[in-house]
């Protein structure tokens, strides 16, 4: 069994090259998983604003969902996305971003996960994701 399947999300982020590219790290606060993505120039979609790329925001949210499933369920393989919907609520600014996810429903083969991303204020989400993942 690989390290990242031990349920340790920090090892998961280190093992996934794309998460390293985005600079995503994890921590556990009061038993809840928190993802952090420090601002970096390579995350920019619109240099004039500047604003994070919508794809970066979607990537962070999808990663939060996957990490939450690994953390809670510890399956034999990485959960596979079936579908995701991302609502963009605010422009993602050139500052650090955070994300959290929760499993809304767990079936035998599939889970429904909700995730939210914010920057300075958790009460003002930048984007939200709902998605299904195969276990």
């Amino acid at each position: 069994m690989s390290d990242y399947r031990s349920g340790d999300p920090a090892k998961l982020m280190e093992a996934i090259p794309y998460c390293r590219h985005l600079g995503i790290t994890t921590s556990v606060e009061n038993g809840a998983l928190l993802l952090t993505m420090p601002f970096a120039q390579r995350l920019i979609g619109n240099p004039a604003l500047p604003a994070l790329h919508g794809g970066v925001i979607g990537s962070l949210l999808e990663t939060a969902a996957i990490a939450q499933v690994i953390y809670e369920i510890r399956g034999e393989r990485l959960p596979k996305p079936v579908d995701i919907t991302v609502d963009y609520l605010r422009s993602g600014r050139a500052v650090d971003s955070y994300a959290r996810a929760r499993i809304a429903r767990q079936g035998k083969r599939v889970v429904n996960v909700h995730a939210e991303m914010w920057q300075e204020d958790e009460a003002k989400p930048v984007a939200a994701l709902r998605g299904h993942f195969l276990l």
Partner: protein, 150 residues
């Protein structure tokens, strides 16, 4: 596309230089209908280290970028746009060591909103990796000093 208006060619150039797209090694291929962009396979895009399959976020990113481009192709003048929502259906995992191509078409533009459909595939559009549906806000009148990018 040689018959594209100057501002659209400029927008294409601008969107090719987007740091995120450049960082994943992607490029815009076509500013037509459909709008088309491509990302070659590389190690840093991997989402599953055991299979070498690209992270779903790369596909989301490429489809978001190409969807924005598709909206611009439909607009008659440069206008800032913003993604409202994006739904991605993952049909199958992307095969490692193959390019991913996104093809998006803006199916309808209203005064304030544009609707997009798109496909991501690896050479055969009939065998898609993912399908996307997106809605974009069109900021008519623009925002001073903000060039057209998604």
């Amino acid at each position: 596309m040689s018959d594209a208006p100057e501002w659209l060619k400029h927008a294409k150039k601008h969107m090719n230089l987007t740091p995120y797209l450049a960082g994943i090694g992607g490029e815009i291929v076509d500013i037509g209908t459909p709008a088309r962009a491509r990302v070659p396979y590389s190690e840093k895009l991997i989402g599953d280290p055991e299979t070498g399959v690209v992270h779903g976020g790369v596909i989301t990113g490429l489809l978001d970028h190409t969807s924005g481009l598709a909206v611009m192709v439909k607009l008659r003048e440069p206008m800032p746009i913003a993604t409202l929502d994006l739904r991605i259906d993952y049909m199958r995992p992307a095969k490692p060591h193959q390019d991913i191509i996104a093809e998006c078409e803006c199916v309808r533009v209203t005064h304030e909103v544009a609707f997009v459909r798109g496909t991501a595939h690896q050479g055969d559009a009939k065998d898609p990796i993912a399908l996307c549906t997106g809605a974009f806000m069109i900021i008519r009148g623009g925002v001073h000093g903000i060039p057209v990018t998604p």
